[in-house]
């Protein structure tokens, strides 16, 4: 499994949830230590040389695995679409990059399309709004997969956002370089979330979820934010993303 740097540092539970889902479906999981980040911050800053170095490390780290599963649409997109493009003119690496791309899947896509998973008894009593993250939606056509899985969760009902395919304003380093713009876009997004009257926001990309959760917290909202994997794996007892720790979990 490719953990992604945000799950690794910010929300390990997302990666544990992904592991649990895959193990329950009968997969054997290997988490190579030689991984950190897919390189998006460098890629999106126009630093091709650094991205290439990072990408080579990722390609090497997973060369012996049958599948690479990623609990993020945007990082999966990097491995699947951006790496082959980076190495297009490199005879030595083009094949290896394509090889990695061919066996890499975003988590919900893998569960639905490769494994046809039927979830074990899991429930989440809540009204959930689903945020489709941009790269996953547009580059990997991730839309129906998480919804199909969430339908199997007992007690959960889904609400659609009015302009669901609009960006949340995260954009990685964009949110740090242009915080005012990013702040405006995410507050629009939170307005649309509020309109759905959901009590929980779900999504498949931690970057967007951290952004949305951060804004909701600042607005004083008590909406819960979870990664879709956490709900599917039944790991929603602890604090949601951006939520204060209760005494006993700290």
């Amino acid at each position: 499994m490719f953990v992604t740097c945000l799950a690794d540092l910010m929300r390990p539970q997302v990666a544990f949830a992904a592991v649990a889902l895959l193990e329950r479906a009968g997969c054997r999981i290997r988490v190579p230590r030689e991984q950190s980040c897919c390189g998006q911050p460098a890629l999106n800053s126009g630093d091709r040389a650094s991205t290439i170095n990072i990408a080579k490390g990722v390609i090497r780290a997973f060369s012996s695995d049958d599948y690479v599963v990623v609990p993020s649409g945007s990082c999966a997109d990097t491995l699947i679409n951006k790496y082959p493009e980076l190495f297009r003119h490199d005879v030595k690496w083009a094949g290896r990059a394509q090889n990695l791309a061919d066996k890499t899947f975003e988590l919900t896509t893998f569960l639905v399309e490769q494994l046809g998973v039927e979830l074990e008894q899991v429930s989440y009593p809540g009204v959930c709004a689903y945020h489709d993250s941009c790269s996953g939606l547009r580059e990997l056509a991730i839309h129906q997969q998480p919804r199909a899985l969430l339908q199997q969760v007992e007690g959960l009902s889904l609400r659609e956002l009015e302009d669901g395919s609009a960006c949340c304003g995260f954009g990685g380093l964009f949110s740090v370089k242009y915080p005012d713009l990013s702040g405006r876009i995410v507050s629009d997004k939170c307005g649309q979330i509020a309109q759905t009257e959901a009590d929980t926001v779900l999504g498949g990309d931690l970057g967007c979820l951290l952004n949305i959760a951060g804004r909701l917290r600042r607005e004083g909202s008590d909406l819960k934010v979870f990664h879709v994997a956490e709900v599917l794996a039944g790991m929603t007892d602890g604090p949601a993303i951006g939520e204060a720790e209760s005494e006993d979990t700290a």
Partner: protein
């Protein structure tokens, strides 16, 4: 370099900040946004083969760009055959000179103009005014912008940044001296008042200048698409008609034109067809009831031919429909003026640095979340976000980006290539941030990202990274 780079950065950011704080701008933008998006979606839902037509539209433009010289020559021949003249302008200055020259020769006092972004690119109005002419914009949006002494903020809806109250005030101020002393506030009444003021101008104008949505090589026609019919009055009534267009506006044939028209209005306003689609192919012929005595076409290069054959050539496919602006979250937040030049939104962020250099536009390719919606809606499938990323690569390679940013990024990337070291180094900041933010669930202030925490919390990270926890889990089992 870095000093001037920094000061330029501030310019865009300052304009963006002002825009975010401008309450009436924000009201106007919020009102426009949903409308454009919904209308386009409805129009496309009604045309199942839309994607196939988009492919065809892209292919036509690609074919033209691959054979541009030939088609431009053919077009020129046809125009001459029809009795018109074609003028070639290398840059905007030359274009202004040519147009001012034609106007002077016609002894023009009043010039009416249809909507033309390329004339905005040339800064044509000030040039003609300096030559002693009165210039009147006849597109309602352009007219409003002209009265306000501003520039268009959207390529198809020039006054989209104005609220109705602001337009009411403007009209009242400028039309009262002409005898329209009632203060009209309703949409229709405003339109009617502008119509009747403009009617007078149409009849008295000596020269009419229009843009062109397309130029048809096989017939020599220029095509304009409007919803107000002002373009037709500008083209037909004055003695002299001047068409201004970029050299990339060529389509080979009328059949090709039909394909592009099918995607243009749907993408722009969500209409199946605009109210007026008119083809003009030259001056009045003996026996014609109407039409200008002289017909000129001024074709502007201004850096476009430089893009042929290069990695940005796809940008020349643009048909200026505005869909990418309407679907851009950044444009939707700040409007067009913050971008600093005539072209805004995603197409502007790609095009401005290409035509003007990075000098005034270092920020543009970076002020984008790369969400890709622009690329998804573009009727000629220009990969806008990919082109923005190419700009970033170029900026990085030419060392135009901020030194500190490069240092931080470089250090991080160096670490990221050494995962074991990375995992060790990250442990400390993680603990610290967790310590400060764990209780609340997030940090309200973060050094180095105080901008982020200005408008939202930074959710607290875990106490121990996944990789660490996973290692100990493995050891335990």
């Amino acid at each position: 370099m870095s000093v001037s780079t920094a000061s330029r950065r501030v310019e865009f950011q300052d304009r963006a900040k002002l825009a975010l704080e401008d309450a009436s701008l924000q009201r106007a933008l919020a009102k426009a946004r949903g409308g454009f998006v919904d209308h386009r979606q409805e129009a496309i839902d009604g045309l199942p083969e839309f994607d196939a037509i988009r492919d065809a539209a892209r292919d036509i433009k690609n074919h033209v760009l691959a054979n541009l010289d030939g088609y431009l020559e053919l077009y020129e021949q046809q125009v001459i055959e029809n009795g018109g003249q074609v003028h070639w302008a290398r840059d905007t200055e030359e274009a202004c000179q040519i147009i001012a020259g034609i106007c002077k020769e016609a002894q023009a006092k009043t010039v009416t103009k249809g909507k033309s972004m390329v004339s905005e690119e040339m800064h044509l109005n000030p040039a003609l005014e300096a030559a002693g002419m009165t210039v009147v914009e006849t597109d309602l949006g352009e007219y409003i912008v002209q009265l306000a002494g501003e520039t268009p903020s959207h390529i198809i809806a020039p006054a989209v940044h104005k609220t109705r109250e602001q337009i009411t005030d403007l009209f009242h101020e400028h039309h009262s001296p002409l005898g329209y002393t009632d203060r009209v506030t309703q949409r229709e009444a405003l339109v009617n008042e502008a119509r009747s003021v403009l009617r007078e101008r149409f009849v008295t104008a000596d020269v009419g200048i229009t843009g062109a949505n397309f130029l048809v090589a096989e017939t020599g026609a220029n095509v304009i698409v409007t919803n107000e019919g002002n373009g037709d009055l500008t083209s037909c009534l004055p003695r002299v008609h001047i068409v201004t267009a970029g050299i990339e506006k060529i389509v080979p044939s009328l059949d090709d034109l039909a394909v592009l028209l099918r995607v243009l209005a749907r993408s722009a306003t969500g209409q199946e067809f605009s109210a007026y689609t008119s083809l003009y192919s030259g001056p009045r012929r003996p026996g014609d009831m109407e039409g200008p005595e002289a017909y000129h076409v001024v074709l502007l290069d201004n850096g476009r031919s430089r893009l042929l054959g290069g990695q940005y050539q796809a940008m020349l496919r643009c048909i200026r429909c505005g869909a990418c602006l309407n679907h851009c979250p950044v444009y939707g937040s700040i409007g067009g003026h913050a971008y600093g030049w005539v072209y805004s939104g995603p197409m502007g962020s790609v095009l401005t640095p290409l035509l003007n250099g990075f000098d005034q536009s270092l920020d543009l390719p970076n002020a984008c979340t790369l969400n890709g919606r622009c690329k998804e809606v573009c009727p000629v499938r220009i990969p806008l976000s990919d082109l923005l990323l190419k700009h970033r690569v170029e900026q990085h390679e030419r060392r135009l980006s901020s030194g500190l940013g490069r240092l931080l990024l470089g250090t991080w990337a160096w670490l990221a290539c050494r995962p074991r070291l990375y995992q060790g180094v990250m442990a400390l900041p993680l603990r610290v941030m967790h310590m400060f933010g764990g209780r609340r669930g997030g940090l309200t202030w973060l050094p180095g990202a105080s901008g982020w925490t200005g408008s939202r919390d930074f959710p607290a990270p875990a106490r121990r990274s996944f990789m660490r926890q996973w290692q100990s889990r493995k050891v335990r089992s």
